[in-house]
Subunit: 401 residues, 2 copies
């Protein structure tokens, strides 16, 4: 097996909760050695979500491929340990509010003194400059502020939050990309620099053509629920045993769709002759399509339409999606044996590499589990480590402790 893309890269990870840990997990998944530094007591997420055999599967899903060091950064001796680790690291990841790192003594100047090659990666709510820089962040608020919520939903629901913490995740993903790009730049003669991604700005970059059109026209998009604002036919239709989702993307695909369901002739009628007319007469057209597809099952239509090149599928519940045969073929649900906690299921790796497939190299760490190992590798001797533990600077990493 060849080395993973980020083999040999050392990440010191101060992130906690969600956006930052997602970023550092991605770096770990890609092959970096990630040391997660946890405050005494550990990342709050260890106590959140459903637990099995004492382990939060939510925590597990965001903290594989990391090692854990429990360290008290409120004490100067703790910061001294951190500085010694940073001296030999490539990347520092953090998701404190802007300014917190500096208050800890780790100003830009100090970090540069400790390690001029260090890339500092920050995930935050709004960016570290501007009028909202100091605001505390939370996914729901970033969804609201970014304009995203106003486009999600229907005219009846009004602005609607979406369930996944999408702004945390998109910001974490952008930060990981920024980290790898900055690393590549540094390794090719560029500077070691600070990289930042914020939840609000990351989400704004996902508004795509909704923003393009809003900027071009000055008008807001209207929430349209499951109807595509400017395409027809499009949406959910009723097969004999459930809905099918159909999304013909071009006129040619619309023709194929109508042919497959035996309604080609409708496209000659003035009311359905082009997309504009079909959008105008959407209700009539949908009724005719529903009558036609009622004659077959979901599975039959989905197979037949896809074969004809018409994008089609069904609305799966999350448990159905997780059990989907394609998801199995793509190894997107992993069974990770975890000593003492049974077999943990978690989402797999969405990036597929042909030569160096990603894998779980480190199961989810117990709190402080790798403290001794990490400090030894940084040159600490056993007596120094014992003293740090005895003085309450770092955790002993005892699973029972």
């Amino acid at each position: 097996m060849s080395a993973l893309p980020l083999s040999g890269v050392r990440v010191i990870d101060l992130t906690r909760i969600l956006s930052g840990p997602f970023c550092s997990m991605i770096l770990g998944d890609l092959g970096a050695e990630v040391v997660k530094i946890e405050a005494p007591g550990g990342d709050h997420v260890r106590g959140q979500g459903h637990k099995i055999d004492g382990l939060s599967w939510y925590f597990a899903g965001f903290n594989r491929n990391k090692q854990s060091l429990e360290l008290d950064l409120r004490k100067p001796e703790g910061v001294a340990v951190l500085e010694r680790l940073l001296a030999r690291a490539d990347i520092l990841t953090e998701n404190f509010r802007p300014g917190v790192l500096a208050k800890m003594g780790l100003t830009e100047a100090r970090l540069n003194e400790i390690n001029p090659d260090l890339i500092v990666v920050s995930v935050n709510g709004y960016g570290s400059t501007g009028p909202y820089a100091d605001r505390p962040a939370f996914d729901f608020i970033a969804q609201a502020m970014s304009g995203y919520m106003a486009t999600n939903g229907t005219p009846d629901t009004g602005p609607l939050r979406t369930a996944p913490p999408i702004t945390d995740l998109v910001a974490g993903l952008y930060a990981a990309l920024g980290a790898v790009a900055a690393l590549r730049g540094r390794e090719n003669g560029g500077p070691a620099q600070r990289v930042e991604a914020s939840m609000m700005m990351s989400m704004m970059s996902m508004m795509a053509y909704l923003s393009s059109n809003a900027l071009a026209t000055g008008r807001d998009p209207v929430p349209t629920g499951n109807d595509h604002p400017i395409a027809s036919p499009y949406g959910l239709f009723r097969a004999s045993d459930g809905d099918i989702a159909v999304a013909p993307s071009t006129e040619v695909i619309v023709q194929r769709f109508m042919k497959e369901i035996g309604l080609s002739h409708l496209l000659d009628e003035p009311r359905f002759v082009n997309n504009a007319m079909r959008v105008q007469n959407r209700a009539e057209l949908n009724a005719l399509i529903n009558a036609a597809v009622a004659g077959g099952t979901q599975a039959e239509w989905i197979a037949r339409l896809n074969k004809a090149g018409v994008p089609s599928g069904r609305v799966q519940s999350l448990t159905e999606a997780l059990a989907d045969p394609q998801v199995a073929a793509q190894e997107m649900v992993l069974d990770v044996p975890h000593p003492g906690h049974g077999t943990v299921k978690m989402t797999g790796f969405p990036i597929k590499f042909s030569q160096t497939p990603l894998r779980v190299r480190h199961t989810v760490p117990d709190l402080g589990e790798h403290g001794r190992e990490v400090l030894r590798a940084a040159g600490y001797d056993e007596a120094e480590i014992d003293a740090l533990i005895a003085n309450g600077i770092m955790g002993a990493g005892d699973p029972a402790g």
Copy 2:
């Protein structure tokens, strides 16, 4: 100005529409030289969305920092040009359906022959293996199949599509990250390899703790709209002139929130004494909070709550978000002067680099605008280029043509 993170990297880009062009634009934003190869007539998106002075702002928003070459790949002479460009490229990006590249003659073996160092990056619907590999992809279907739609919405709406083409974008973003990681690996002695991200699997990786809990319990999450399923108080509350969004993430923050709005005493009552009781008695609590915040304006409460460490904001429409002072401070709306098309507005760069800030180095290309330039750089002489144009293999890049 230092070199950008991907300076010197050459990308040949066969992508069209949305997911792939987002990936290649990110690579271009990061500093790569991206040559977008367009089929005769150009990317369909050139004709979509709102146009100003003949330019689609949707196309502009996904195709800055690229050069354009119009090339007919249905003709062997066109494929020969492509092969010559690939011979000196680092990365090939494509978002055809799996197998299309091979049908064009560009099998894995052939690509390896042309350029053993080439990294091939694919964005597709479901992944290139598994039972759905051959299905045509579309965002709406990937939203439906991934389990995402089933979690979006309220019990009244049922499964709900979200307006932004989120699965295209997340897959494009993962593919860009995979491309940069593979490049970094290759530059450090690893293999040049194929990288892939699919819309369905990328979206599944964004289901976060919803998936963790579903895997742990076997139960599906219930769509809860704007209520957080397991936190109270949380959501939208009515100030005197509009709603405020409030998301206290911990018990300490709940206490601060209740103190700021003068309701600390409620937390001593059995019905609101802890989060579990507050979730159970959410309606009562929300009514009391609404009564309390009715005494102040949106802006007053948002400033005051954030200052006290309580994440707070408001639901902005997309045009409000685009005009937000923080968005301006973060330069997330760019004014790009575009010769012949006025000043084009587009979304800025969500990744901030301290030393090498990203910028628009190439405005959106006219169709085939850089054909001659790209072929010259690849060693073609003028007579060869003229012949390719005369024979209809490549476009002349004449804006009037």
